[in-house]
């Protein structure tokens, strides 16, 4: 067993920031990550980091834009924390040497981004995430923080008191990809999950192959509620063949969208008469699909994004990376022709419920970054707001886990205070099929109710290790279905039915498909017999996580019968503020997802954000 004060799972922007912060608090910290840190998906972020740095701008304006962008489903205490702390955290990166783009006077450049009332997106060319990830990894090397890279975390070691709020997280179990060793990692103070998004739930996504939502699924099964899972952001400009992202920076710099008739449809068909191409992502995604559905798409599939008029010099200065992406992955020269684009899965607004200190309702369990839902993005994330989330909440989670007092959080977690029990009418029984202790799945907390509550922390971790060894042995010794078939089936169904446009019948069909996939998963088997670098095994376990999250997303989408932010429902074409100013929560109750709701917090520090019509 390995032992540290703080264990951070994941080494993207959120994980690295958390580790640095925890170490600065004096904690002995280690990172467990399935990819070497510089391979994390944060490296793919292109556009930039929002921070109110300039005269004429203020964190309050940033907070206002964010609340409006969230369609009034962001929790004000989290949103205000984000906007207040982003300038300092962004400058911290500069002080660590990050190669931001520069203005004539040598200060960092900022540019306009969708949904922002001020050009406050700080950037490094069209490779902001790459620069950010490497800058932070450099700091990690400098500080000598221990990294267990190519270790795949498969299960949390959490005690199993009846109420999740009484449970405690003592560590994680992980699998050394290179050697096949399964080991426990005991965390004396806390575990920070920073495992990134679940893009692989869909087959057309901007996310990396490794983004399988592991942290969210593990926390969910261990009892931490997951929040607002239905809110999946579809980015309007992804390359049709691969899902590779063409940054919003292109539209920020003045790129124009055209349909097959050469019409600038954002204006000509009235989707966003003021902001045009710079309306927020949900608006633009729907506009594009409407164009395609009404027969004005190109090859019935996509639209054109044109940046030629910006001129070669400006394109090379600010969007050079985009030229390479269009060329390498779509064979299009952005200086000579418009680029084909269509919406693709991009970001999960939902995730593990946390407060503004990054803590979940399980003591000692934290989450930060895309896997968390502190609720800063609500129903729709503004471009450039995820990277500040990584550094602001990554830092806070790391500090708090290391024992620093950050004051009492205003956001409550778990089934405390005011909450409302929900109901969904499902066509099939959702959830687990094999019962507790099922070898095909990580059993969440230990299977025999209450037994591990009595164990010492070490024993609790050892117990989880034993369960995990049993599961892996079972997966490797039997014969059965390959995970790839199951995964592909779920991804297809999600892309077909739980996409930009959603309707009741389709959502129900998706639940049926997921149920079928779950049953097939009971027979999943790993055919590669080797313990060395067994990616077959890893993908098999990841597929299980994909199943649980696909179901959570679909259940959330079915229960929310309104139209808010990224969530569009055919039968419900209006935002229903009287009923729905609340978060959708899901708890894994011994394998059956339970739905409940918690009101959104619109009261900020010195004002209440009044819901207004979102028009751009």
């Amino acid at each position: 067993m390995y032992e540290h004060d703080v264990i951070v799972v994941g080494a993207g922007g959120a994980g690295l920031r958390a580790a640095i912060a925890a170490q600065e608090e004096g904690a002995d910290v280690a990172i467990v990550t399935k990819l070497h840190p510089v391979r994390s998906h944060t490296g793919a972020a292109e556009g930039g980091i929002n921070a109110a740095l300039r005269e004429g701008d203020s964190w309050k304006d940033h907070a206002y834009d964010t609340m409006k962008g969230s369609d009034y489903l962001g929790d004000a205490p989290a949103v205000e924390t984000l906007c207040k702390e982003s300038p300092r955290e962004t400058m911290q990166l500069e002080h660590w040497g990050m190669a931001f783009s520069r203005d004539e006077d040598g200060r960092v450049s900022q540019r306009p981004f969708g949904g922002l009332s001020f050009p406050r997106t700080t950037y490094a060319g069209a490779e902001t995430g790459h620069q950010l990830l490497h800058t932070m990894y450099e700091q990690l090397v400098k500080r000598g923080i221990e990294v267990y890279d190519e270790w795949y975390a498969t299960r949390l070691a959490v005690s199993d008191e009846e109420r999740p709020e009484d449970r405690r997280c003592h560590g994680v179990v992980a699998y050394d990809i290179q050697s096949g060793e399964i080991a426990g990692f005991r965390a004396r103070k806390g575990v920070v999950l920073a495992t990134g998004g679940p893009g692989q739930v869909y087959d057309h996504t901007t996310n990396a192959v490794s983004n399988t939502g592991d942290g969210v699924a593990m926390a969910y099964r261990a009892g931490a509620p997951i929040e607002d899972m239905e809110f999946i952001q579809f980015h309007p400009t992804t390359l049709p063949s691969t899902g590779v992202l063409i940054s919003e920076g292109v539209r920020g710099e003045g790129g124009i969208l055209y349909n097959e008739n050469g019409e600038r449809f954002m204006y000509e068909h009235g989707y966003a008469n003021n902001a045009g191409e710079l309306a927020s992502r949900d608006v633009v995604s729907r506009a594009e699909l409407t164009e395609v559905n009404q027969g004005r798409g190109i090859e019935d599939e996509y639209v054109h994004l044109d940046m030629r008029h910006l001129g070669e010099e400006r394109i090379i200065d600010r969007l050079e990376n985009i030229l390479h992406l269009a060329e390498d992955f779509e064979g299009v020269d952005g200086l000579e022709e418009p680029m084909p684009v269509k919406p693709g899965q991009h970001y999960a607004m939902g995730g593990v419920e946390t407060d503004e200190n990054g803590e979940t309702c399980i003591t000692g369990l934290y989450a930060a970054g895309e896997c968390a839902c502190a609720s800063v993005h609500g129903a729709n994330r503004l471009g450039g707001n995820a990277l500040p989330e990584l550094i602001v909440f990554g830092k806070r989670a790391g500090q708090h886990a290391a024992g620093r007092d950050l004051g009492t959080a205003r956001i409550e977690t778990g089934k405390r205070g005011e909450y409302e029990v929900g109901e969904v009418d499902t066509p099939v029984q959702p959830g687990e099929v094999g019962g507790p202790g099922d070898v095909a799945a990580d059993g969440g907390t230990a299977p025999d109710g209450g037994a591990t509550a009595e164990l010492t922390p070490d024993e609790c971790v050892e117990r989880a290790v034993t369960d995990e060894r049993t599961r892996v042995d079972a997966l490797m010794s039997r014969e059965g279905t390959n995970h790839a078939t199951i995964r592909a089936k779920v991804q297809k169904s999600m892309t077909r039915f739980v996409n930009v446009f959603r309707e009741e019948d389709g959502l129900k069909q998706a639940l049926r498909d997921i149920r079928e996939a779950r049953e097939a998963y009971q027979d999943v088997a790993v055919s590669d017999p080797s313990r060395t670098f067994n990616t077959d095994l890893i993908q098999t376990i990841e597929t299980r996580n994909i199943l649980d999250l696909a179901e959570a997303i679909t259940l959330g989408a079915l229960v929310r019968d309104e139209f808010r932010g990224a969530h569009w429902r055919a039968e419900h074409q209006e935002r229903k503020d009287e009923n729905w100013l609340k978060h959708t929560m899901l708890s894994w109750n011994e394998g059956t997802p339970e739905v409940w709701f918690r009101p959104v917090i619109l009261e900020g520090e010195d004002k209440t954000y009044e819901p207004k019509i979102r028009s751009y």
């Binding site: 990819l35 070497h36 510089v38 391979r39 994390s40 998906h41 490296g43 793919a44 740095l53 300038p87 300092r88 400058m91 911290q92 002080h95 660590w96 040497g97 190669a99 931001f100 783009s101 520069r102 203005d103 004539e104 040598g106 200060r107 960092v108 790459h130 490497h134 450099e138 700091q139 090397v141 400098k142 990396a208 192959v209 691969t242 899902g243 590779v244 390479h324 992406l325 390498d328 992955f329 779509e330 064979g331 014969e479 059965g480 279905t481 390959n482 790839a484 097939a520 009971q522 027979d523 088997a525 790993v526 055919s527 590669d528 080797s530 060395t532 670098f533 067994n534 990616t535 077959d536």
Partner: protein, 294 residues
């Protein structure tokens, strides 16, 4: 040798047991269904490969120290239905998901930014995700990066590469931060432009693998690490004293002077970093530096 589309599996005969319990029956039934599904999948795959107008043949290096049949390195052939725009990585994923789930390679972003799928394709270091099949001669030979120890199939051990990267103190160092925590260190656009290419390295290791000198001298820092040193040494936000220290590191016995300007690193770098040029420039800096002191 050729495995092509593997033979379809026979459905498993049901085990003869005395009075099987309900649970056993259910499990047996499941297994039967699973086997049937698997068979269907493979048949479909075979069908697809046959129907596809165009297939590409991949010859892939295989090795696994733990599995008897794979202990001796060998090549397997896979026939993958070709679609326009398909990359080497797409083809490998297809082969793995359809024919042999034990086929092992690193990959993640699919967009040339995570640096994990540097491979030796038709005799040259390339990123699998960035290499279009249509640009290659057939059969496409896919091997692990040369000069690195093979862990399994296409996966190589990267530890030595990481060690070399860390040897150059790859982090920003300065003594003079601005007073205000919200004030940035100013940097001219020209200076940012100068270091820009060097900051693009994705740690893929292609350059190191292509370098003859690195192959012969295990201690040579190598192009990627020297480029990393360049990234900081040329950044005007770091002070002169630190630049001095950096030059000392890259000037050491196994540093810049080992480079014989063969340009192989520059040729293979998927991020178009002018590595040889950067190494040359550091050599000049090192000379200037020494002149100053001698």
């Amino acid at each position: 040798m050729s495995t092509q589309v593997p033979e379809t599996q026979e459905a498993e005969p049901e085990a003869e047991e005395q009075a099987p319990s309900k649970g056993d029956q259910r499990r047996a039934e499941r297994r039967r269904k699973a086997a049937a599904r698997e068979q269907e999948r493979q048949e479909e795959a075979a069908e697809r490969a046959k129907e596809a107008e165009d297939t590409v043949e991949l010859k892939v290096f295989r090795y696994d120290p733990e599995v008897p049949e794979k202990e001796k390195p060998r090549f397997d052939s896979f026939h993958v239905p070709f679609e326009k725009g398909m990359t080497v990585l797409d083809a490998l994923m297809y082969a793995r998901d359809t024919y042999d789930s034990s086929l092992t390679f690193r990959h993640s972003c699919r967009q040339a930014i995570c640096g994990s799928d540097a491979l030796f394709v038709n005799g040259r270091q390339r990123l699998g995700c960035k290499t279009q099949l249509s640009d290659l001669d057939e059969p496409v030979r896919v091997e692990p990066l040369p000069h690195q120890e093979v862990v399994k199939d296409l996966v190589v051990d990267m530890e030595h590469f990481y060690d070399q990267m860390e040897a150059v103190e790859p982090y920003f160092q300065t003594n003079e931060l601005p007073d205000g925590e919200l004030d940035e260190q100013r940097q001219t656009r020209e200076n940012r432009e100068k270091i820009k290419m060097s900051t693009r390295c994705i740690w893929c290791g292609a350059c190191m693998s292509s370098c003859n000198i690195a192959a012969g001298d295990n201690q040579y820092l190598g192009p990627a690490a020297i480029n990393k040193a360049y990234r900081f040494a040329m950044d005007e936000r770091e002070g002169e004293d630190i630049k001095q220290q950096r030059l000392e590191i890259i000037e050491q016995e196994h540093g810049v002077w080992r480079c014989q300007t063969q340009f192989s690193c520059t040729e293979v770098c998927p991020k178009d970093i002018p590595l040889t040029e950067h190494i040359q420039e550091l050599k000049r800096e090192a000379v200037k530096n020494n002149l100053k002191f001698w």
